[in-house]
C-alpha cells in the first residue's frame, strides 16, 4: 500500500506524491480522501494514461464495478466529492491530488475534460452543466 508522504513512479519521469495534507484533518479548509492511498495513486495513473490533463491541471474519476462513479472523498463542507483534482509541478513531472471541492471555482474540471467524460458515457449534459456552475451534482 502506498505510504503517505512518499513519491511513486508513474511513467518515465512522472512521479506521484501521496500528500499528507489531504489525508489528515489538520486543515479545516482542505478536502480529504476517503479512498485508500492505492486507489488514489491508481486514480492518478488513470488520469495520466487517459491524458485528462490540461497544462498543469488534471482531473480523475473512479468507475466502480457497477459502472457508477465512486465517492472518493469529502469537502470541508462535508459534501461527498466524486472528482479528483490533480496538480502538476516541476514541469509537470511531479503530481499530487485531492478531492475536488466545488467551492473552489478555479479547480473545477475544464470543459474539454467534461466533454471527454460525456463521450465515454461517464456523465451526461446535465451533470456537465451543474459541474460548470459549481452546483451540487451526484454523478
Amino acid at each position: 500500500m502506498p505510504i503517505i508522504g512518499e513519491q511513486y513512479p508513474v511513467d518515465n519521469n512522472i512521479r506521484y506524491y501521496i500528500s499528507p495534507v489531504h489525508r489528515t484533518n489538520q486543515n479545516s479548509d482542505k478536502s480529504l480522501w476517503s479512498i485508500t492511498t492505492a486507489n488514489e495513486l491508481n486514480c492518478f495513473i488513470n488520469t495520466y494514461n487517459n491524458q485528462w490533463i490540461i497544462n498543469d491541471k488534471g482531473w480523475g474519476i473512479i468507475i466502480n464495478s457497477e459502472g457508477k462513479i465512486s465517492i472518493l472523498g469529502y469537502t470541508p463542507s462535508n459534501e461527498n466529492s466524486q472528482i479528483a483534482r490533480f496538480q502538476g509541478a516541476m514541469n509537470n513531472t511531479h503530481w499530487h491530488g485531492y478531492p475536488w471541492d466545488r467551492k473552489k471555482i478555479k479547480d473545477k474540471p475544464s470543459e474539454q475534460i467534461l466533454d471527454i467524460w460525456i463521450s465515454k458515457g461517464y456523465i451526461d449534459k446535465s451533470c456537465k452543466a451543474k459541474i460548470r456552475r459549481c452546483q451540487l451534482c451526484t454523478l
Partner: protein, 443 residues
C-alpha cells in the same frame, strides 16, 4: 390555472429570448437565431388571443388599461377558459423550427456559456475564462450576432445577472460576489468608492462564497449553499435638480414657457451586507446549509417542510443610515412579513432558486418545482422532471416575464404562466410584485 407549454425538440445547451428573437446554443456550440413572433404565429392559425399573449406579449395584461376587466368575474372566467383551452401538447420539430431560422453561426465564445444575460443588444456570457460579450439583434445580412466575442474580465464566473438599469452582478464561487461597473447615466449614478476594486470596472462586494445572485431592486441577493447567503444592500438617494444644479431651461410643458423642469438623479451606493440568518430570524445566526434566493420584493429560503418568504422594501433602506436594523420600527423595516409555505417532498436537495412575477422556481437535484399563487387553492405547483441542463426566466423583460424555459436532455420546454394577472399583487406570496418599472426596455 396551469401553464401553457411548447416543446422544441433537439439537443440544446442554452436558450435566450430577446426582442422577438430566439437564441439557441446546441451542445456543439452552434448558435442559431430564430424569428420568435413568426414562429408563434405559425402555431396559432386561429389567432387565439390567449395564445398570443402567452408567448409574444406576456406583459400586456398587466397594463392599467386592463385593470377594470381583471376585476370583472365574467372577463376573468373568459380569459381563464381561453388559457386553459390552449392545446398544451405543441411540439416543434427541428424541421419546423428551421423555417424561422435567420442566422446560424459557430459559437462566438471559446466555450459554451455557463450563464448569460442580454441588455441593450449586448449578450454577456460567463465563462471559465472570464466575462465576455457579443452584440446581438443585428440586422446584417448573414449573421445576426457578432461572430467573435470581446473580453471584459479574465476572472472565472459561474453566474451573472443584469438589473433593469444595466448593473451587472457576477458570482465567482469562492472568489466572491462582484459588480461590473456600469457607466453613469443622466438619471443614475453609482458610487463605488466604498467597495474594493478588483480590476478596472470590477468591484468586489464580498469575498463570501457566491453560487448565484439576482437583483432586489437596487440591492443584490447573493445565494450560496456553502456559506451564508446574504443581501447586499444599496441605498438609492433621489436627488432633484436643485441639489445637483442641472436644469433644462429650454424645455417646456404643454407650451408653458414658465414651467420649470426639475430633473432628478438616483445616487446608488453600497451600504452593508445582511446574512440570511438575520433575514429569516435563525437562532444564533448560524449557517444552516439551506439555500435562499431573492428577486424584486421577495426573498425565499428553503426549509425541510417548504419555503419561507419575506418581503424586502428597498424604499426603507434609507432608514438604515440612521438606525441599526433591529432598532427599526415596523413601518421603517426593510424586511417584513415572514410567512411559511408548506411543500413536501422536495425532489432531492435544493441547488438553486429564483423568483418570477408568476411564482418561485426551485431547482432540486432531480427536478424543477414551480410554486405559484392560486385563486382557488392557497397555492399550486408543477414539477418538471430532470435531468435539467439549464432553466431561465425573464423577470426584467418587457414581453417575456411570464415565461420559463427549461433545457432538458433532448428538448426544450417553454412554459407560459398566465395566472399572475388575476392575483392581488400586494398580498401574493409566491412571485415578484408587478410594477411598471421593473423591466428592461426593448426586451
Amino acid at each position: 390555472m396551469y401553464p401553457v407549454k411548447i416543446i422544441i425538440e433537439g439537443n440544446y445547451w442554452d436558450i435566450q429570448l430577446y426582442r422577438g428573437r430566439l437564441y439557441l446554443w446546441d451542445v456543439n456550440g452552434t448558435l442559431s437565431i430564430y424569428q420568435w413572433n413568426e414562429l408563434i404565429d405559425s402555431l396559432n392559425p386561429t389567432n387565439n388571443s390567449a395564445f398570443a399573449y402567452s408567448f409574444i406579449d406576456g406583459n400586456a395584461l398587466y397594463d392599467n388599461k386592463f385593470s377594470p376587466l381583471l376585476h370583472d368575474q365574467n372577463f376573468i372566467d373568459f380569459f381563464e377558459n381561453s388559457f386553459n383551452a390552449i392545446n398544451s401538447d405543441i411540439i416543434i420539430s427541428e424541421e419546423q423550427l428551421n423555417k424561422f431560422l435567420i442566422s446560424k453561426q459557430n459559437n462566438p465564445f471559446s466555450e459554451l456559456p455557463i450563464d448569460s444575460d442580454i441588455y441593450y443588444n449586448q449578450l454577456f456570457a460567463a465563462l471559465d475564462s472570464g466575462l465576455y460579450y457579443i452584440n446581438v439583434h443585428k440586422n446584417t445580412k448573414k449573421y445576426k450576432a457578432d461572430t467573435k466575442s470581446k473580453k471584459l474580465w479574465d476572472n472565472p464566473i459561474i453566474s451573472l445577472k443584469i438589473s433593469y438599469n444595466g448593473r451587472t452582478a457576477l458570482s465567482a464561487g469562492d472568489e466572491g460576489l462582484f459588480e461590473y461597473r456600469k457607466q453613469n447615466t443622466k438619471y443614475t449614478e453609482i458610487l463605488y468608492d466604498n467597495l474594493e476594486i478588483s480590476d478596472r470596472n470590477f468591484y468586489r462586494i464580498s469575498n463570501q462564497h457566491s453560487l448565484f445572485s439576482d437583483w432586489n431592486f437596487s440591492s443584490i441577493y447573493n445565494s450560496s449553499d456553502i456559506d451564508n447567503s446574504f443581501l447586499a444592500i444599496y441605498n438609492t438617494n433621489k436627488m432633484t435638480s436643485d441639489l445637483y444644479n442641472e436644469t433644462n431651461p429650454s424645455s417646456s410643458y404643454l407650451g408653458d414657457e414658465n414651467y420649470e423642469y426639475y430633473s432628478f438623479k438616483n445616487i446608488i451606493k453600497f451600504e452593508r451586507i445582511i446574512n440570511d440568518s438575520i433575514i429569516f430570524n435563525l437562532e444564533n445566526n448560524q449557517f444552516d446549509n439551506k439555500l435562499s434566493w431573492g428577486n424584486g420584493d421577495k426573498i425565499y429560503k428553503a426549509t425541510d417542510t417548504g419555503i419561507d418568504v419575506v418581503h424586502f422594501k428597498q424604499y426603507n433602506v434609507k432608514n438604515l443610515l440612521n438606525k441599526d436594523l433591529l432598532d427599526l420600527t415596523d413601518e421603517e423595516k426593510i424586511i417584513s412579513d415572514l410567512h411559511h409555505i408548506d411543500f413536501h417532498p422536495w425532489k432531492g436537495k435544493i441547488i438553486a432558486g429564483n423568483v418570477a412575477n408568476f411564482g418561485t422556481i426551485v431547482e432540486c437535484e432531480n427536478a424543477l418545482v414551480v410554486l405559484f399563487d392560486s385563486r382557488i387553492n392557497n397555492y399550486d405547483s408543477i414539477t418538471i422532471q430532470g435531468p435539467i441542463t439549464k432553466w431561465r426566466i425573464y423577470p426584467r423583460s418587457l414581453n417575456y416575464k411570464n415565461q420559463l424555459h427549461v433545457v432538458l436532455s433532448d428538448k426544450i420546454e417553454i412554459y407560459s404562466f398566465n395566472n399572475d394577472y388575476f392575483q392581488d399583487q400586494n398580498s401574493k406570496k409566491l412571485g415578484i410584485k408587478y410594477t411598471h418599472f421593473n423591466y428592461h426596455k426593448n426586451s
